[in-house]
């Protein structure tokens, strides 16, 4: 039995190959793991800075690539602040993959609407790679994404590329404009008014800051989405990733093991999910 020999707490080492500046606060870390690393889209990893700490991230790269891994990190707290100082050549630690990702097979034959905000585009990018790979089995993929300012938008080339792919469309908005921006201004949720989607044959994926997740979900319900058609990627303090340490409890769920992707139906009975 594999569990007899595996130490669940021990990280796999990975060498930092490249650091890509995505926005003033967000960098993408390109990692070469010591061993092949296999994950499903939406699953997450614990990424460690040696001797400092580790934090949970959903890889932003394609699950089809197993010899390198991209992780997009916003400078937010203690660990990510130090992570942002790392230079290529640094050795990092990876534990995982953990949790329950997106139920991709259930998306077949459907229109997939993705609502994203801020750094929430990181896991979404990984999802988009997966959806692109299976686009023959999909009706349509619509991305609605909002960032605070045009400068805060990550993966800018992604949008024109998505719009060039058959069946894909991508929409962007910003909360606060600048001189170079001539697109929509407003929250990501407002983009939902511009799109055409057959709701009965659709699923919606929401990933972003808690406030956006909350109002995004409310708007999707108003549009006619059922609670089991809405997939939410929940963020909690996932520390061990193993369903043990308790830091990510959300009601009865260990978000790290039972999630991080939940349907709204699974969690709506808990009024504290948006906290």
């Amino acid at each position: 039995m594999a569990s007899d020999t595996i130490n669940i707490y021990k990280p796999l080492r990975a060498t930092l190959e490249e650091v890509i500046e995505e926005s003033p606060l967000i960098k993408t870390f390109v990692l070469i793991p010591d061993e092949e690393f296999v994950f499903k889209t939406g699953e997450f990893i614990e990424l460690a800075v040696d001797g400092v700490g580790e934090a949970p991230f959903t890889p932003s790269s394609s699950p089809l690539v197993t010899d390198r891994l991209e992780v997009t990190v916003m400078k937010t707290g203690y660990v990510t602040r130090i992570m942002h100082e790392l230079k290529p050549g640094a050795v990092m630690g990876i534990r995982g993959p953990y949790g329950r990702g997106y139920p991709i097979s259930e998306f077949k034959g459907k229109e997939v609407l993705i609502l994203g905000g801020g750094c929430g585009l990181a896991p979404i990018r990984s999802l988009l790679f997966t959806l692109e790979h299976m686009k023959d089995d999909l009706e349509k993929v619509i991305l609605c994404y909002g960032s605070k300012t045009p400068a805060d938008c990550i993966y800018k080339p992604l949008f024109s590329r998505l719009n060039s792919i058959d069946k894909f469309e991508a929409h962007r908005t910003v909360d606060v404009t600048d001189d170079d921006w001539d697109g929509p201004v407003g929250v990501a949720t407002a983009l939902l008014d511009q799109i055409s989607v057959k709701i009965e044959n659709s699923v919606a994926v929401v990933c972003g800051p808690p406030i956006m997740m909350k109002f995004g979900t409310i708007r999707l319900l108003e549009m006619g989405y059922r609670d089991d058609q809405i997939y939410l990627s929940m963020e909690k303090n996932m520390s061990c990733g193993l369903g043990k340490c308790g830091h990510c409890m959300m009601g009865e769920f260990f978000v790290c093991k039972d999630g991080p992707v939940f349907t709204y139906r699974e969690i709506k009975h808990n009024p504290e999910i948006w906290k």
């Binding site: 569990s3 007899d4 595996i6 130490n7 669940i8 707490y9 021990k10 990280p11 080492r13 460690a48 800075v49 040696d50 001797g51 400092v52 700490g53 580790e54 934090a55 937010t76 707290g77 203690y78 660990v79 990510t80 630690g93 800051p209 808690p210 963020e235 909690k236 303090n237 520390s239 061990c240 193993l242 369903g243 043990k244 340490c245 308790g246 830091h247 990510c248 409890m249 009601g251 009865e252 769920f253 093991k257 504290e272 906290k275």
Partner: protein, 329 residues
């Protein structure tokens, strides 16, 4: 399942003999407390069998307060732990579900469980806050331990429950015979007496399921009221035989130290961006009750509170959870 009997002095001499291959812990009573100590033949007369309850919850033998979980070490000698009350034995059920979970088995917990022979001890008396039977837990062990011990007069009776227990019987220095059922009549009587004491002590206390229902329904005021005496010291969770949350601390060379943690401490659920669902003390206070009586039961088969009452005894604010429940009833 069967009983063996052995003269008390032969039992203790057998234990001494087993010290060559095992670490042995027994409940020892002194002027102030009752707690586990390493077995020494010279101290045998201070062993308090069938007495609730060691100050240290049984979990501490399997989940150390702090340990390095990346360095590989010899797992050490086999252990015999004697004298755990059944509330603590039943509490291991939840820890097993979490730490022996097939997807992610904790190798350190598993090794300790495998290396341990657990001899529980039936309770022949009760403490002020014992309330196991209110939650369906018996004050004696019929499963979950390797043996259960009953001390009567000059004899020790051992209820042999598991294969590991049977194996230990074979290792006893002095031949211990299968006991005549007639000699065990006292056991049933003791059990009934203890259960009657518990029923009297806890009259009106809601059962486990009913407690979950009233906790879930309770409005914010009751939590604010009781939390006003809470200082977030975490004594209740430290002493709880089922609380097992922890923190992983990173050390150089990707080593990790696992340290017991608790939802009662500020910042337990705080995320990097600053959001903290348990920022308010009363929310943290309520969280422990929701966890034990509402959320864990939704997710696990084992009890998350076995009625040991240690959290009541340990609270420096004199918060009595059972008074809270009675107020809600």
């Amino acid at each position: 399942m069967y009983y063996i009997s052995i003269k008390k002095e032969d039992w203790h001499r057998s234990l001494e003999n087993l010290l060559t291959s095992h670490d042995i812990f027994v409940p020892v009573k002194d002027e102030f407390s009752l707690d586990y100590e390493p077995f020494r033949l010279s101290q045998a007369e201070n062993i308090a069998y069938n007495t609730p309850k060691p100050a240290t919850p049984l979990k501490n033998f399997f989940l150390p307060v702090r340990e390095n979980v990346t360095s590989v070490r010899n797992n050490g000698r086999s252990r015999i732990i004697i004298g755990a009350p059944n509330c603590d034995v039943v509490a291991l059920g939840l820890l097993d579900e979490i730490y022996l979970d097939e997807a992610f088995t904790d190798p350190f917990y598993r090794n300790r469980r495998m290396n341990t022979i657990l001899i529980s001890s039936d309770c022949f008396s009760v403490n002020d806050h014992c309330h196991c039977t209110s939650y369906g837990v018996k004050p004696y062990t019929m499963e979950g331990a390797d043996m259960a011990l009953l001390s009567e007069g000059d004899y020790i009776f051992l209820r042999v429950i598991s294969d590991k227990g049977e194996e230990l019987v074979r290792q006893l220095l002095f031949a211990a015979g299968v006991s005549d059922p007639e000699r065990l009549l006292f056991a049933g009587q003791r059990h009934s007496e203890t259960e009657a004491l518990l029923a009297e002590l806890n009259r009106g206390l809601p059962d486990y399921q009913a407690t979950g229902e009233i906790v879930q329904r309770a409005g914010g005021n009751i939590w604010v009221k009781y939390a006003s005496k809470c200082v977030s010291c975490g004594a209740c969770t430290t002493i709880c035989p089922t609380c097992s949350c922890f923190l992983l601390i990173d050390k150089p060379d990707f080593e990790k130290v696992k340290q017991m943690d608790a939802c009662q401490y500020p910042g337990f659920e705080r995320v990097a961006g600053g959001e903290d669902a348990l920022f308010e003390l009363s929310h943290r206070f309520r969280n422990r009750y929701m966890c034990k009586y509402v959320w864990r039961p939704q997710k696990f088969n084992s009890l998350a509170c076995t009625g040991c009452g240690r959290c009541i005894e340990a609270c420096i604010g004199n918060i009595n959870k059972n008074e809270l429940f009675m107020e809600l009833t």
